[in-house]
Symmetry: C2
Subunit: 623 residues, 2 copies
Amino acid sequence: MDPTTAKTEKLRVTFQPKEVTTRVPSGTTLFHAAAWIGQPVESTCGGRGTCGKCRVRILEGTSPVTPADISHLGAEELADGWRLSCQAEVRGDMTVHVPRLLSTPKTAMFGVGRQVLLDPNVHKIHLKLPEPDLHDQRSDFKRLRDALLEEGFAMSADLPALRALPKALRAADWDFTAVLCGEALLAVEPGDTTREAFGIAFDLGTTTVVGTLLDLNTGEARGVASTLNAQAVHGGDVLSRISHTMSRREGLEELQRMAGLSINSIIERLTGEAGVPLDRLYEITVAGNSTMLHLLMGIDPEPISVTPFTPAVDHGLSVPASDIGLAIHPRGRAYLFPDIGAYVGGDIVAGLLATALPRGDRMRLFVDVGTNGEIALGSEARTVCTAAPAGPAFEGAEISCGMRATTGAIEGVRIGEDGVTLQTIDDAPPVGLCGSGLIDAVAELYKRGLMDATGRMRGAEEMAGRLPASLASRLVTLGGVRAFVLATPEETGGKPVLFSQKDVRQLQFAKGSIAAGIRVLMNVMGVAPDDLQEVMLAGAFGSYIHPDSARIIGLVPAVPLGRIRAVGNAAGEGAKIALLSYREREAAEAMPSRVEYVELSGRPDFNDIFMGVLGFPPLASLP
Amino acid sequence: MDPTTAKTEKLRVTFQPKEVTTRVPSGTTLFHAAAWIGQPVESTCGGRGTCGKCRVRILEGTSPVTPADISHLGAEELADGWRLSCQAEVRGDMTVHVPRLLSTPKTAMFGVGRQVLLDPNVHKIHLKLPEPDLHDQRSDFKRLRDALLEEGFAMSADLPALRALPKALRAADWDFTAVLCGEALLAVEPGDTTREAFGIAFDLGTTTVVGTLLDLNTGEARGVASTLNAQAVHGGDVLSRISHTMSRREGLEELQRMAGLSINSIIERLTGEAGVPLDRLYEITVAGNSTMLHLLMGIDPEPISVTPFTPAVDHGLSVPASDIGLAIHPRGRAYLFPDIGAYVGGDIVAGLLATALPRGDRMRLFVDVGTNGEIALGSEARTVCTAAPAGPAFEGAEISCGMRATTGAIEGVRIGEDGVTLQTIDDAPPVGLCGSGLIDAVAELYKRGLMDATGRMRGAEEMAGRLPASLASRLVTLGGVRAFVLATPEETGGKPVLFSQKDVRQLQFAKGSIAAGIRVLMNVMGVAPDDLQEVMLAGAFGSYIHPDSARIIGLVPAVPLGRIRAVGNAAGEGAKIALLSYREREAAEAMPSRVEYVELSGRPDFNDIFMGVLGFPPLASLP
């Protein structure tokens, strides 16, 4: 597949009366086309063809009548062009009329300023059914299924659910609440328990696991907790995790268990603190990179680590939570995000859900900086993405004075006329540099002329007379290698923090890789920095980077400062959105087919581009 | 629901060029309408819309274009009325043209003279795929799914299948056989193993479990084995089994385990003797009454035993065999037949599949005689069914000289001028009467005038001078109760076998219940004995009943002898058919909606009818 051409031809759909237009791949349903661009359409079943509420009228174009249409619409309505939008597939350009919503839907703010419709995949339906008698001998299953269908919900039940059914219905005296996760029957609870419905949205990071407990009725967050990924003892990045599964027979199971332990510890803490019983916790969503998701599922990730980097699975999966060792409702389910590519994983899909980048009309750039830089660029018309291997420099590794972002890490650096100002985590005496400090340090050295555009540090003799004494004394040479004293022994109360020429080179390689990835995508899209209406820095790290420094070192394109925005833990936000809105989850499911993946290893022009962005942009060129 | 009216309005479908017509409920697909009456239609995917081979041309009536049509048919074909018959639903009267089959399909003889198309639910597809490269980074799942779709098969994979996938594909060097059960991926086997595909069809009886090992490629039976149902220690009939689950906390699990043990012992024996490895045994089918199927699934059957007799489940189920404790391929599946009612279970659905009673054009009666008599009456135009509680008399219980059909049981009785001729099992000295002997004994006593039409036995004094001495001496009175000496102490070598007036009454109640059930169905259908073109006696017991005796005692209607036929183990035959043909399995799935269930307990006229058939028909009235 040639990544420079659009993936599929797209068809135009215009929604009246708002006159909003989108272009979708052939075969997309009108319901999903509307959801993609945020056009609200009535629905309770989430587009499964059972509630009959998502009717629209086709004004231009045609769509054949489906069985679900016949069940829910009259002959006259069908003749007038009315169809269920969840059944009508776009096969040509279309214009459709969407009726006004019958009621104001409940929404909540999530992600990057997104108003998300509360439309969770978990439904609780309170029913009071007449007891069976000789004139109505339907099986328990059919009695329940028929009653739910009348409420607009399709139901299926696996063996465990069927085993529980006869006793549960009779113990409740046929007055009960059915719990559906999608169509799967999870439970029959006595009485009306519709108000008690919870889920947890997880960002399963390589380093950190974060969970947010959400009330599925209100969208309200009832608690947030995080923990280190217990797998971290087997290496800090995905490749060392994968190599652990290859070097030990039990390695895969071990890492799966550790992922489960981390998630379960958060579940326990959140439900304990909020007083939510485990059997009212019906669903969790998990965003994570493809390796983390493979490990959580217990699927061998080895092929991800070697060319041509093929995952075993890259579609979204809803599985019984107990099948992956997670302790929620005994029949509760876990939804795992789809991946776009082996290195543009479910965390990035979640990030794109949170930012709605591929669904908006502005040209935006999304960068998640870590050991891999994941990059997406585009808008509703077209979006491309890639992953650029950045190495561990941004996490403090392979930097002489580098460290993780913990107490004493320098996260901000300012070099003024009168000396150096450091911002450290917990305001502790400085110990070393973490990622954002590293970027700051390089940007400040460059800005103050202590380093040239190729990254060469200037020596004390070269700068003689052009620097105040407070700075000049910080230029040193150790073993023939230039360095800058970020913090003196007096300031640290121990060893000095030295930033060396070698460290600069490491940083240049890391940022060069990401910058080259961005450049490739911009070339593919034919976009110049001026065209970028927003540059979003995602991930925990993205929140700490100073936008100006990122721009000065050329990590991000030279756009006006106001267009660079830290969007925080976008993956976690996406996981919340997918938990609260099935429609949004379906949009996540559509991402891999709507967002084009550009493989950098396959590109002959990558090395030239990489060499071209290793240096720093001329300071005067920054808008 | 009024059982005297047809369940749903039916629509006419005529298939050209054979000009065969059927009537089907609205919403039936053309593919299933054709399969129902045995009109062959090309297909490899079994009607899932993926192979595109089942195309027909609609000559009269309309059917909207579906997405699957668009994938498989050209615009011109669509305009000419061509549709995939598995997608086209009947919504009005229709005439369609069916193209001639491209090749002669493989068939095998099963059931009651049925030519069954070999079209198993298990498919093995040999594939050689190119290795992934940087230009084709599809996940393992998608690579396999796409290749199968090209062969016409849809695929889904659960977590265990996904976990096995990466290693299996690479170990096989991308030259492998994919095993599908329905759409579920069971395995990826290295090389071409398409010739090795087996299944076992089970009749899970309350008393006996029978299994037949079948080669799914050829339909050839590779072995038959039977065993007593291990549950039998907890009672001989379904009610005692259910009461065991109610009286003991672990009762349900115990009975489930016992059903599994019985089935597993047969699996072990059959595969051992035929040299078939367990991992080439992919699917089993199980026909059984609803209680047996509930117990096998581990679902509480208690509500089946009390009014209004509602099962928990009555739809057909395909479940992982391991979930119900059965040891076949680790991811192999078990198909359990649907029930029509709590007492017209999956064994009867299988029997109706084997006889094709509701799909043929002749008016036929099907009777399975046991502790319950299950009865079906009708043809393709309409079929009704019911269950009549017969009690244990036919199994030898509550009969003074009754016994099970084991060594020494009298299974045949002839009373001639010169005495009594007995046929015993294993030709052993007579010990007691089993069911078929019981019916014979009563019929012979009646035929010889030793009993009147009300069932009253005549005494020795009443018959004085009208009997040869050899018979007269057999009329005795013991404790004021008349009896007939079936076997003298000299003949038994021990105690005599005495058949008493009380025994006659027990038989009358048992046969009266079944005869009344038949009469009710005949009334519902407006059918007289003359209209019955065939009376089929099913079940192991049905095979041993002498048709003439059954007619004489009025167990079956008074039809010419040649129209009464023993059809053997119809349930077991149905299980085989469902294993070998997915189309036929779908016909079984349609039975509950096509065959009307008549509940006898709800009928005010039942008692009168029952009283009316307690006696015996005038001998002269038999045609």
